[in-house]
Symmetry: C2
DNA sequence: CCGATATAGTTTGAATCGGAAACAATCCCG
DNA sequence: CGGGATTGTTTCCGATTCAAACTATATCGG
């Protein structure tokens, strides 16, 4: 007798059909609200009767609510539908120096926000984070909290929630999820910061028609998030996207990861500051944003440092262009504030090496950097219910 | 009125349910044949009644046939089912020097095969290929030919079937698919050679539980095929996987692609021969296989050349390991015949740079190289009907 | 004011499908 | 030759979508 295969293919039944269509309808409401049942039928291709049944179910489950009635040149007035903003999600963005905790509704609209410092010790950080989360929870009585999404500059075991690699955070292996689950009773989803940016772009930037793009986050280090065939590429251990730690020159300067000459050693914010310091005297405690403003005020050495960084950014992106042929590369980080300096240099470097028949990806700076990761954490929680 | 979105999400109905389950059952028959209806029910989790109905439909459609009855210690004898081998597929593997045309049944078993030279001119090559295909067609009367799958070392527009990049074939832009469709009336599917190897591994090497792996093909050049989340990554223009043309050293030797110092300049078969020639005198017309045998016969310079190639292979694979974190890397090419030389060197180079928390992929040499691509072309045609 | 027309949303009946359980067929063994 | 076990089929039910009829409600023209 053959063994009963636990990893058997997912068979389908009537309920699966409803689940698929329910998710499609729910997503349409999310993206096109306010919208009537009739429009949902037209957009989805489902019958009006089917839409009515699905909406009835979604209203019962408190996902959707009826709004005002619309006006038309003729005929019965449509009832507008929208997502119930009593369903909220807590988003957390952990960065090396500060952590943001925020509350958003299912539309991705933030209603409250708090910034706390990020201590160097993960235990202390977790305690402070839990307190901030509980302040947020206290602030939203009556609303239904769907879960907590957390973005951070590191990698961890999918499922377990144990941090395994966070060089720029300087945290050792640590279980971040369990204490928060215990303290709040809510579901917690962790995601790498670059991957969170991918989710944010997919969910809130009307990028659903673009199924192959890469997000490159540039700050202390360089992270990349990959969307291939409309799906986030996490790889076996959740470690996919570490292009920042591919060596461009094996004799180059040492990197925090233990290797030498990694891409991020040449093209991160830190790298630009290093170029600047190496080229002559500079004040203490200069930040990357300071460097950008010095470049804009005519400091030739600052301009040179920034352009060198841009040059290496483009050079590293060749890996991504050649290997993945994405439709777009979205650049996230403080450097987007000086895109007039970076854009042309990166673009030229990438264009230089497009293969015959290939086609250079559109290079897009992501503005409002801060929100990208945070909105990604909201998508992280929502996708369980919404993604088709 | 909102526009009717042509790219609307795929809604589901009862027929979709049947289609999904039909594909699951068809795949189980393919992978576990001979198999009884009762075992299919156990493996799939579907009811026996449902299996009976689906099998009835598959038998009517000539996909499945009943075979002999089995024996059990007790009870009614099961009727074994298997794929109908009257359904056949033509597979074509185009290589720089020779082209293989073969006929296989739905199980991937080849029943006839023919090897013809590959002319340098694409027009002549197509004519010769069509003749060979028609000889194969003539040889299989009564059988139903599902389509033609073609693997070649190059890239092309998905859909259109126009070659756009085939440096090692030295063919310019050329429409390969249309003449064959016109001559035979059969559907033609093109695929890059490395991607064909990915399909072969997925379909015929019991790799379906491994949803993230990369195939690296090493011959005149280096090609890579990427499977992420169980799906082939083709990228926007079908150009994904050209890691072979990422420069390791911008001042390195020129590459056929127009750039300098590409990975394949350092780690292809050609590269090993170059290392050998550069290190001293050598006979004319030495092939890579000759080089391997010289190494095995104690030629120290040959050993050195081979090890240098292996070293650079490993170095380039770091891009893949860091960027995609695959579970396995499957190596295809003549070098697998001397895996005792390559394996350890590549493995050491890759291990050297595994990030904390990461996990090095299993490095697997693919044997019977010739068949890998050819079997991939069969999968290429089958996946339309089989893939879930 | 009233009917024609148009649009939104609901109700109803048919068709498809999988699930559950009963049933029929077949085999081994004592 | 009957009991138990196993395979495969039949029958009925519930879930779902679809198609079309139906209801509700708006505008417009006379």
């Amino acid at each position: 007798m053959p063994d009963h295969d636990p990893t058997r293919a997912q068979t389908a039944s009537s309920e699966v059909v409803r689940d698929i269509n329910r998710r499609i309808v729910l997503n349409l409401v999310r993206k096109r609200h306010p919208i009537s049942r009739a429009d949902l039928a037209r957009l989805s291709g489902l019958q009006r009767s089917t839409i009515s049944l699905i909406i009835e179910q979604l209203i019962e489950e408190n996902w959707v609510i009826e709004g005002p009635t619309g006006r038309l040149p003729r005929g019965r007035r449509p009832t507008f539908l929208r997502l119930n903003d009593e369903r909220v999600i807590i988003g957390v963005d952990i960065r090396p120096t500060q952590t943001t905790v925020a509350l958003a509704d299912a539309n991705g609209k933030f209603t409250s926000q708090e910034v706390i410092p990020t201590p160097g010790d993960p235990k202390t950080a977790t305690d402070g984070l839990i307190e901030a989360i509980q302040r947020i929870i206290a602030g939203c009585r009556r609303k239904k909290i769907e879960g907590i999404g957390i973005s951070l500059p590191g990698r961890f075991n999918q499922g377990a929630g144990r941090l395994v690699f966070a060089p720029n955070l300087n945290w050792r292996e640590f279980d971040l999820a369990t204490p928060i689950v215990k303290a709040t009773g809510l579901e917690v989803e962790l995601e790498n910061a670059a991957n969170a940016c991918v989710l944010a772009a997919m969910w809130f930037d009307r990028m659903e028609e673009c199924r192959n793009f890469v997000v490159v986050t540039v700050s202390e280090g360089i992270g990349t998030g990959i969307l291939a065939n409309g799906q986030l590429v996490r790889g076996l251990t959740g470690m996919a996207g570490e292009f920042g730690h591919v060596p461009l020159d094996h004799d180059g300067p040492e990197c925090g990861c233990g290797s030498r000459g990694c891409w991020e050693v040449y093209a991160s914010n830190r790298a630009a500051l290093r170029y600047y310091f190496e080229s002559g005297p500079a004040g203490d405690n200069l930040s990357f944003v300071d460097l950008l403003s010095r470049a804009d005020h005519g400091d030739a050495r600052a301009v040179k440092a920034v352009e060198t960084m841009a040059h290496y950014l483009g050079r590293g992106m060749r890996m991504i262009v050649a290997g993945l042929a994405p439709e777009r590369i979205i650049v996230v980080g403080d450097l987007t504030r000086a895109w007039h300096r970076f854009g042309p240099v990166i673009e030229a470097e990438v264009q230089d090496q497009v293969l015959p028949g290939g086609c250079a990806p559109r290079l897009v700076p992501a503005h409002e950097d801060g929100m990208a990761r945070l909105r990604g954490t909201i998508a992280l929680v929502l996708q369980k219910h919404f993604s088709v």
